[in-house]
Symmetry: C2
DNA sequence: TTCATGGTTCGATCGTAATCGAACCATCTC
DNA sequence: GAGATGGTTCGATTACGATCGAACCATGAA
């Protein structure tokens, strides 16, 4: 009974619909002001103020005062991960509301998830790779095939290093926007690194957005989506 | 507002102290009956029955009827992960209660956390490895040193493969029992694999317990804990 | 069959916490 | 200075849900 970290306290904090909306909005990667959050959560300024105070007090979010504005953001990476985990379970259990994509178009298109790529492009790429036999998908397992190994090597990704490791080189990760899977694991991370190294895209500062430039997106689609 | 998976619903479920106790107890890896859980959570049979019904309905836990008993267990691995994430945040934010170790001795000693080793042995091993300079711990980063690379190679762990990968080969993971860190990442996974491959220990079926046999534990301690 | 034990259902009670109106404070602009 | 906007504090209302007593159903044992 009196055992373990006090899970209930912070779970209860996230458990209020208004606060959950606040946190979800904050996960969309921007720092937001109290009034903006009030609008998002659909409550008045007073209520949102009370909620924010509690969240700050529990150190789930952090404040930055700037003039007469107060900008709120998630307190740390672990909170974002926690929310992702919650979304995963919520999705599996069917506790979904409609329209689950992040509103920010850039974020919906391509973003960082842990150390790999997520978003529309990532999902599309993963499914294309599956179609072309780069991976062998069995329930609960994902294996890199010889084809995939060759193709990745052709792109300049050091497959031997990834594949020989004891750790599963590739995994599927549920994309909470698309509600489909994208590629994770060491190979997923390598792909993201490749995208950044080649200059196809860059990470926006203080954001999880991965911004492709026009020719970079074209190249990415050619390599991962087409033929 | 009406966006994304319905986080609030399940967070609220976990947010009740009694239910949090139930889930925490279930994370200790055994299937438990309703009355046992009532005792653990400190409520009457009726209340625990109501709670369990809600948790089952939300598919956070699953039931198995056996005679006149009903055994409850966590519905999936994702729920356990979610709870671990919650514990991590709860710990960071200082929302801890006393006595945080899992009660099951075997589980406290050595268990699986994701794909690597957790528990007393894991924490001790990690700290010993740190002491002996296998890793270089900087805030937010953990790097494998040449020493560590050599030592791991000596044990028959393919370090080149792990290290050359784009993905961070080693990471720290907060052990919710010990409240200290253990080794995660590709190297952490490799160590677990090594422990299992050598026959030092085996995973108990349907459990996260990693059971060392006497000589296996001795070997493990010699390799990872002593000079 | 009778009895004990595991578990559920129903109804009533009771606390807690979310919410808002109204007033208030703080900062910036003009 | 006056006004406007962002944000907080206070108090009162309200609704939801956790809890338990009591009765009930189901299974297994004697």
């Amino acid at each position: 009974m009196k055992d373990g970290p006090n899970i209930a306290r912070i779970a209860a904090l996230i458990g209020d619909p208004a606060r959950a909306d606040i946190l979800t909005a904050l996960m969309a990667d921007r720092a937001l002001t109290a009034t903006e959050l009030a609008g998002i959560a659909g409550v008045t300024k007073q209520t949102v103020s009370a909620h924010l105070a509690k969240l700050v007090d529990a150190r789930l979010i952090a404040v930055e005062a700037q003039g007469r504005h107060r900008y709120f953001r998630l307190a740390g990476h672990d909170v974002a991960q926690l929310l992702e985990a919650l979304m995963g379970v919520a999705f599996r259990t069917g506790a979904v509301r409609l329209r689950s994509s992040p509103r920010e178009p850039a974020l919906r298109k391509a973003r960082v998830c842990y150390d790999h790529l997520a978003g529309e492009l990532a999902v599309a790429a993963f499914e294309a790779m599956l179609m072309r036999g780069w991976f062998l998908a069995r329930p609960g397992e994902l294996r890199l095939t010889d084809t995939g190994r060759a193709e990745l090597a052709r792109l300049g990704i050091d497959v031997l290093a990834l594949d020989a490791g004891r750790r599963p080189a590739c995994r599927m990760c549920l994309d909470w926007g698309e509600r489909r899977h994208h590629l994770a694991g060491a190979v997923g991370a390598a792909v993201l690194r490749h995208v950044l190294d080649t200059g196809w895209a860059r990470r926006l500062p203080d954001s999880r957005v991965v911004a492709f430039n026009p020719w970079g997106e074209r190249a990415f689609r050619e390599e991962f989506l087409l033929a």
